[in-house]
């Protein structure tokens, strides 16, 4: 009951934060002088193609770029009626990409879900690798197990992702016949979901997941090892041993649970760093995520496209933070009853 109430409360604050973030994103994007259309007009004038100007002027009115900035923002979000009534983000109209000359929704549509897929896979990979290795390294600290995992971990941290990607592609293809580039075989692109398509996507996911997740996993493993080592020297661990709890259980049931807190709190931070970190990797690996689109949009001041992508990343982050907050409340009674303790 308490959890439900807390989750609702957290959800409401998340929506409020999202609105603030959207305003920040919009105004920061508009800080550099000019916008895509005025740049275009200047270019058309300079090259003497005056006939194109009228179309651009039409777009300017159509997308309310002639309005003051605060009104543009409200119209973009859908809080204020534009030329065609309420039609903004909250109504599901994500705007027009001038660069690609297509609706934003069409450009990012498929890429959004692939982005989520790639990053969720990477997060899962991070936790699946980091948790057991971190526990092992702490339990066997200062033995060859510890040193080996630390070595592999630092290697993972230190290798540039794109380099790792190229190496893995080469050997993955040579020995395991893993596909190179993309997130599915070309023949499935634009096709409806089918078992073969899912299989193809999963096969293509292996290397990107590994590449994007490695450094995160290495960092988290080291953090878990340090946390757990701190906890292992706490008196309650001795209490458990003196009770006759078997060694593995004595680690997993008590200190491991306490040392999980910072890792759970990391979920929210992990998502944005993975997404921004994976932009370059996506370009190298030819993944159809929103990374490459974001790069293009930012370069050409394509504000609706860039704004939408940034807002989407912010939403992912906030959802991650919310999940970690709710999990923390579930995991740690000290947080749950924060007010009741002495």
């Amino acid at each position: 009951m308490l959890i439900l109430r807390y989750s609702i409360y957290r959800f409401i604050t998340m929506l409020a934060t999202l609105v603030v973030v959207s305003a920040l994103v919009f105004f920061i994007m508009n800080l550099p002088p000019g916008d895509y259309l005025s740049n275009l007009i200047a270019e058309l004038r300079a090259t003497g193609q005056a006939d194109g100007i009228s179309k651009v002027e039409f777009l300017r009115v159509e997308y309310s770029l002639d309005q003051p900035l605060w009104k543009q923002y409200l119209i973009w979000m859908g809080f204020w009626p534009g030329p065609h009534g309420f039609s903004g983000i909250i109504q599901g109209d994500f705007g027009w990409s001038f660069e690609f000359d297509r609706p934003v929704a069409e450009i990012v549509g498929g890429a959004l879900w692939l982005t989520v897929l790639v990053n969720v896979a990477a997060v899962l990979f991070v936790y699946l690798v980091a948790l057991p290795l971190g526990v092992l390294a702490a339990a066997k600290s200062k033995t060859w197990v510890d040193y080996t995992s630390a070595f592999v971990g630092y290697l993972g941290l230190a290798t540039p992702n794109f380099l790792l990607a190229l190496i893995l592609f080469y050997y993955g293809h040579k020995y395991l016949n893993l596909p190179i580039g993309g997130l599915m075989a070309p023949e499935f692109e634009g096709q409806p979901m089918s078992p073969e398509k899912i299989k193809s996507v999963l096969l293509h996911l292996i290397i990107p997941t590994f590449v994007i997740g490695t450094s995160g996993a290495a960092a988290m493993m080291q953090r878990l090892r340090a946390n757990l080592l701190d906890e292992l020297s706490k008196p309650y661990v001795d209490t458990a041993r003196a009770k006759g709890v078997p060694p593995v259980k004595a680690i997993l049931k008590y200190p491991f649970r306490v040392s999980l807190n910072p890792l759970v709190a990391d979920i929210g931070n992990l998502l944005p760093s993975l997404i921004s970190g994976s932009v370059l990797v996506s370009v190298v690996l030819g993944l159809q995520t929103i990374g490459p689109a974001l790069l293009t949009a930012l370069k050409s001041q394509d504000q609706f496209l860039a704004g939408f992508i940034l807002l989407f990343v912010a939403a992912l982050t906030l959802v991650g933070t919310m999940i970690s907050d709710v999990l923390l409340v579930l995991l740690d009674p000290r947080i749950r009853f924060g007010g009741r303790g002495k």
Binding site: L2, R5, Y6, Y9, K234, P235, Y236, D238, T239, A240, R241, A242, K243, G244, V245, P246, P247, K253, Y254, R257, V258, L331, D332, P333, R334, F337, G338, G339, R340, G341, K342
Partner: protein
């Protein structure tokens, strides 16, 4: 080693016989050397020694709950030799030892605050012993746990079962630990300083509980402690350890009553005691105050458990007034939760009091007082130079990553006093003042012992040449003999530099020694205040009397009835009529004779 065991004879084989125990860390020379002791069923053996004597390592080695680097070099620990298959605890496989742990031999640790997992319900942690060793189901274990909780003194066992450790006080957590240790009815209980972190009344309660349980079950108890007062009151046999060797062992009456070894005598001499009689001195009016608190209240608002629930207010300090005289020591004693540390923080302006009270500070005699609660930035800086604090725990109040020189010069740097060279000279001078060598400046705190660290904290507090030191339990974390040295140092610098102390402690014996004026606090209120020789020889308030009675002295001829003192002062509604609580308030604090304030009906 002096061994005077008069009880051992052939037909009563001991429950546990430890022979020639040696333990070391890695390849280093052993820290425990040839330790022998034995304990009979139903008996209490006290392992006594200062920190570093190896008493904790010795008792932990029995269940092999040792630091990873510690290695048992040699020795046997034969458990239950009369049984058909006696076991050598040091020779058992890890798996067989697990069956002994928590079942036949159980342990209680010193830190009730940290010895329970913070994330698991107390009931489940206790019940785990039964599910591990007795194959109980969760429900059948719960029935037994509730029963045991009732026995160890939880008024509402169901609530205690569902509680998390942070919801209970230190004494209650130690009760939960005892319940956990006793739930499987062990034959031997090892208690490692179980009452050191508790205040006197709670200590008496816990000791009484252990004694009572021992009588019911006939278990043997190994009691590790540095407190000879505790030993004199509960132990049958004593084993005195020093630097990993047994100095003297034998029945308590003899070892404590008539010690033969010089070290035992030295320990006994260092044990502080409340003076039994003295000429009460005449009260003098305060002529030169340095700090005055008047009508101080402090209410803490604890947030409600839910986001929409009501907040709850706790009044930690109620209408406290006191005056510290220049060059003297004003002490506040009280149990944990009495609000004494809050008063200390308020006195320094570190915590703000509720509106209404006043805190005055006189920089020098006859000067205009400043109002500590409403200082502007520059007044605050100069007040911080004048008033400094010494903390309780010398292990956590010094940054482990800073060298001593940086720790000592930091206050000077903050206040921009002197050049680097002058600051360094000042640091060296400070070290000498507190009795440490000035070539220790480049060391880190971990290279120092507890007593040395407390000297460092004092040196740091002295760096700015303050006039007022607030000492919050400065000796509670220290060994008895070290405690004595630190008290001597505090007295010396007080007299050398004309310092004034506001001294917070729960230890009446320490206060009896250093204070010029003592206030006894109970639940945020001063219940009695007088000069120490008056307060300790002619206490009037029932609460003060109970506190004094609960102090255990290292005297076997004067054993205290733990059962009586464990009750403490009891419910304030049941006190003698003049002192009793009426409704929800105690009588007013009035001066019954010059210099003696008591909360009593006029």
């Amino acid at each position: 080693m002096i061994k005077r065991d008069t009880r051992m004879n052939a037909d009563t084989a001991p429950l546990l016989q430890v022979n020639d125990l040696s333990i070391g860390f890695g390849d280093q020379p052993p820290i425990i050397t040839d330790v022998n002791f034995s304990i009979n069923r139903g008996e209490t053996l006290a392992l006594v020694g200062e920190s570093g004597s190896g008493k904790t390592i010795t008792c932990r080695s029995l269940l092999r709950v040792l630091p990873r680097a510690a290695v048992i070099h040699s020795g046997t620990a034969v458990f239950d030799p009369k049984a058909s298959a006696p076991v050598d605890l040091f020779n058992l496989s890890e798996k067989d030892l697990r069956d002994v742990r928590g079942d036949r031999i159980s342990m209680i640790f010193q830190e009730p605050m940290h010895s329970l997992s913070p994330l698991h319900r107390i009931g489940h942690q206790v019940a785990e012993v039964l599910t591990l060793h007795r194959g109980h189901s969760r429900t059948s274990a719960k029935v037994e746990v509730l029963e045991k909780f009732r026995r160890v003194g939880f008024v509402d066992p169901e609530r205690a079962f569902a509680a998390y450790p942070f919801e209970l006080s230190g004494g209650m957590r130690q009760r939960a630990m005892i319940a956990m240790a006793m739930i499987a009815r062990p034959e031997l209980l090892i208690a490692d300083e179980p009452t050191t972190a508790l205040d006197v009344t709670t200590q008496a309660q816990v000791l009484e509980l252990i004694k009572g349980l021992q009588e019911e079950t006939g278990m043997a108890v190994i009691f590790v402690t540095h407190d000879l007062g505790v030993v004199a009151n509960i132990a049958d046999q004593v084993c005195v350890l020093r630097k990993g060797r047994v100095m003297e062992s034998g029945p308590t009456d003899i070892v404590i009553g008539a010690p033969a070894h010089g070290y035992t005598k030295k320990l006994l001499a260092a044990a502080p005691a409340i003076p039994h009689s003295a000429e009460p001195s005449k009260a003098r009016p305060v002529v030169d105050p340095i700090l005055q608190l008047e009508g101080i209240n402090k209410t803490f608002v604890s947030r409600a458990g839910t986001f929409f629930g009501k907040n709850r207010a706790v009044q930690a300090v109620q209408n406290v007034s006191l005056t510290v005289e220049r060059g003297k020591t004003f002490a506040i004693v009280g149990e944990s939760g009495s609000g004494k540390s809050t008063v200390a923080n308020i006195a320094l302006g570190a915590t703000s009091a509720d509106a209404g009270g006043e805190i005055r500070y006189w920089a020098e005699k006859g000067a205009l007082p400043v109002d500590v609660a409403h200082l502007d930035a520059s007044e605050r800086r100069s007040f911080q130079r004048e008033a400094q604090m010494v903390f309780q725990d010398p292990f956590s109040s010094l940054s482990p990553r800073m060298q001593i020189i940086d720790i000592l010069t930091e206050p000077l740097r903050i206040h921009g006093i002197g050049t680097r060279k002058e600051q360094k000279e000042r640091a060296a001078e400070l070290l000498e003042k507190v009795g440490l060598d000035k070539n220790m400046l480049r060391r880190f705190p971990h290279a120092f012992s507890g007593g040395q660290r407390q000297r460092l904290s004092i040196a740091r507090a002295l760096a700015l040449n303050p006039s007022l030191l607030v000492c919050d339990e400065p000796t509670s974390a220290l060994d008895l003999s070290v405690q004595m040295q630190v008290l001597e140092l505090l007295e010396k610098i007080r007299d050398d530099f004309g310092l004034s102390y506001l001294f917070i402690s729960h230890d009446l014996a320490v206060v009896a020694r250093i204070a010029d004026e003592v206030a006894v606090m109970r639940q945020g209120q001063i219940v009695e205040q007088a000069a120490p020789d008056v307060l300790f020889t002619a206490p009037r308030h029932p609460y003060t009397k109970a506190l004094i009675a609960a102090c255990l002295e290292a005297d076997v001829s004067q054993k205290i009835n733990l059962q009586t003192v464990a009750l403490g002062a009891g419910d304030p509604h049941t006190w003698p009529e003049d002192y009793a609580m009426q409704g929800s308030s105690l009588p007013p604090l009035i001066e019954t004779e010059p210099g003696h304030l008591v909360r009593v009906n006029p």
